[in-house]
């Protein structure tokens, strides 16, 4: 760069990789909102409602938990990434919109559907963006890029939330019965089981990065795959025993998601400076909003089982 090209005023407020306080503050708030939403949703899950909610409601709730988790997680992770690319705003924004679209009485059905469809598109595009980001790092592809570049699969969770929302709306508008419901249930079960496996794979990668330093870190890489297998098995060959087993495992997975949040909170405390050093540790310690994603996906699985049991 020639001396003449240097700007006359020494401080550039917005360089290429600018740190944009206002935008970022907004997104920190968004992250917090996601956490609050999770906080509000999760106790409702923990309580066992009787009579059991309709499959559509369950699915919707699962999608809501998932999008709240994505909202909080992507807001903090993209904040950590300095929002250096404008597209990074899309993730928390879409997650927020999706969360809203899943709430009662927001927008007309058309708007909701459009939102959820865009969530799917955003999620899939996010996967590609993350792949591109990872491949640009020195040494790529390598374990180190998997550990520290943008996580390849994570945006998929937003797509999952969108799909969940769409299916739930479909179910509500025209509740299927009999064979149609059972077939839909089986398909949903297979999809959810793949989603569980993917979520678990991401936890496996990140917990491997953390060297599985605590025994509890093995849980999310063992329990969800077993639940996913049971769910897929039940879809493959529906039967009362299989469905019961899958249901038990999915409930356990959901509970694990909640517990995980607590474990991760302890992780923040264990880092240097603990909670007093929150401005660093909330960004680098185990992400608190991530584990509830398991609960969201598991709810989808439970909804699928309900459908499969349709009379």
């Amino acid at each position: 760069m020639s001396p003449a090209a240097a700007p006359p005023v020494p401080s550039r407020s917005a360089p290429v990789e600018g740190y944009r306080p206002l935008a970022q503050a907004t997104l920190v708030l968004a992250g917090a909102a996601g956490l609050v939403a999770l906080g509000a949703l999760l106790p409702r899950l923990a309580r066992r409602a009787r009579p059991a909610p309709a499959p559509a409601a369950r699915l919707r709730r699962g999608a809501a938990v998932l999008s709240a988790s994505v909202l909080a997680d992507s807001a903090t992770e993209h904040y950590r990434g300095s929002y250096h690319h404008r597209a990074m705003f899309a993730a928390p924004a879409m997650a927020g919109a999706t969360l809203a679209s899943l709430g009662p009485g927001t927008g007309g059905p058309g708007v909701r559907r459009a939102t959820q469809r865009s969530a799917i598109a955003t999620g899939l595009a996010g996967n590609l963006f993350h792949l591109r980001n990872a491949m640009r790092r020195p040494g790529a592809p390598s374990w180190e890029t998997l550990f520290y570049a943008a996580p390849l699969g994570a945006p998929g969770a937003l797509a999952m939330a969108g799909i969940g929302g769409l299916v739930a709306s479909g179910l509500e508008q025209a509740p299927p019965g009999g064979e149609t419901a059972r077939r839909l249930g089986r398909r949903l079960a297979l999809g959810t089981s793949a989603g569980l496996a993917a979520t678990s794979a991401e936890a496996a990668l990140l917990h491997f990065r953390g060297a599985f330093h605590a025994p509890a870190m093995w849980l999310p890489v063992t329990l969800p795959p077993v639940a996913a297998l049971a769910l897929a098995g039940a879809a493959w060959r529906p039967g009362e025993r299989g469905i019961g087993r899958a249901r038990g495992l999915l409930r356990a997975t959901a509970a694990m998601g909640l517990l995980g949040m607590a474990f991760h909170a302890r992780g923040v405390a264990r880092n240097m400076g603990g909670w007093r050093n929150w401005s660093q540790n909330l960004q680098v310690a185990p992400p608190m909003p991530a584990p509830p994603a398991f609960a969201g996906v598991a709810l989808g699985g439970l909804a699928a089982l309900d459908l499969m049991e349709a009379p």
């Binding site: 760069m1 790092r137 020195p138 040494g139 390598s142 374990w143 180190e144 550990f147 520290y148 491997f208 990065r209 953390g210 060297a211 330093h213 605590a214 992780g267 264990r270 880092n271 240097m272 400076g273 660093q280 680098v284």
Partner: protein, 557 residues
Amino acid sequence: MSRPLGTLDPSAETAPRAAGGRAPDVFSREGWVPMRCFRDEDEVDFAVIGTGAGGGVLAARLAEAGFSVVALDAGPFWRPLADFASDEREQDKLYWSEERLSTGGDPLQFGSNNSGRAVGGSTVHFQMVTLRFRPEWFRARSDLGYARDWPVDPDAMWRYYAEVEAELGIAGPVRYPWGPRRGRYPYRPHEVNAAGHVLARGAEAVGIDWSPTPLATVSAPRGKAPPCVYRGFCKIGCSTNAKQSVLNTFIPRALAAGAEVRDLAMVGRIETDRTGRATGLHYHRGGRWRFQRARAVAVAGYSIETPRLLLNSAGPAHPDGIANAEGLVGRHLMPHVNDAVWGVMDEEIRWYKGPPSMAVSEHWNYTDDHPSKDFPGGYAFMSQGPMPADFATSLVSNTGMFGQALRNRMALYNNMAGLKSVGEVLPDPDNRVELAEERDALGLPLARVTFSYGEEDRALSRHARAFQREVLEAAGARDLFETTGTAHLMGGCAMGATPSEGVVDGDGRAWSCPNLWVCDGSAMPTGGGVNPALTIMANAARIADTIIAERAPDRRG
């Protein structure tokens, strides 16, 4: 002359902390752990002198095997959480700042460039780079045709590397690009910082391998140690305990196993009897000289203090100093070539973030027959992240730059990147530690250290600078300039297969004193092209196991 004391708690440097049945709890701000104590009259199985990379590992292993052990260190017993400030000048208290006389064609720099003085030794301020020797280096003469062989089994060393890495919780890459396969590092690698990515991009541009550096600082919690926060003050002591130094790993283990660790205990002389056996040692603590009896003595005081102590320990059977029958004590001292190339990047690198050397290339350690390779041995090179005063003083020392020019250069601190080599220097008997006439405050003769590079060393240093320049340029740096220097002292009391080849045998036992061991960097016959601490520790673990296997420490005598 007087060494600088810290302002935080000077009493830690004048009044021993580990006493009265307790020692500082290094994971607390002011807590204690119980410590077994011995009396001076007790004839302990082992008195270990120095608690650094070599002595700390040895003391822990011997104590765990049931030996009674007293480990003495001249330095203080720090609690990093309370005693370490984020401040270069305060932390001068970590280094061995008592004067050593430096002479020769290329006189060495000691102090902060060189060695520490604390329980935990130089590992308290080391930069945590933990690389293994290339296995062939243990048979450098036989397999590669230069320098000399180690009288040890390379496979055994390879096993001990894995053991110490596990004991330190090393965070390293999943696949290491060079050398024979190794097991998985206990912790995953850290995220490479911008300074490291400069090396990475340059290496990829010139077509050689690079890797995240295996580092002795944890990337996830380990026991009471939190993960590294990337504050970058590692060279002046880690105030979080993320760094896995001897102070917060092997020392707590030694204490728990019943060893006594005496801080601020400077050993002045080892006593020997008429038959030549060591009977104990004279040490200065709490303002007076004392004598600790011991059935066996292990010296691990670093490559200057170990020879200095042996030379100062003449006795009836050791007229020229203990274990010096062949006149080898103090000889074959080796530093590493530490030449560096620096440049300015367009983007802000901010190399103060993260441990200083997060990326490494060992390309020239594993490349033997490239046409440009006009030197034996090899070198690694690493990305850099010096602190401000450290960088400024290396500028003036190397280039003579001062005044406005220096301030202008320092203004670019955040845009700087650098690559620094760790290159092998061949053992030369004339590079040595001797005793000077002049004495220190305790009446001990000062060490006089003579060092000059040989032709091969100069060839390596030229190659390293030229190649690092190429890499740094390829990474996009401009305004390049070079600095020269040395780091890490090794040798001085080398292991040798026969008494004429070394001061101690392959098990670290002195050829001419049956109950005296040398167990630190000074026992290294060659220096290799990597930072030495891991090798010193692996060797200490191996020596400990040979002692344990024999059970009786003094069987040979």
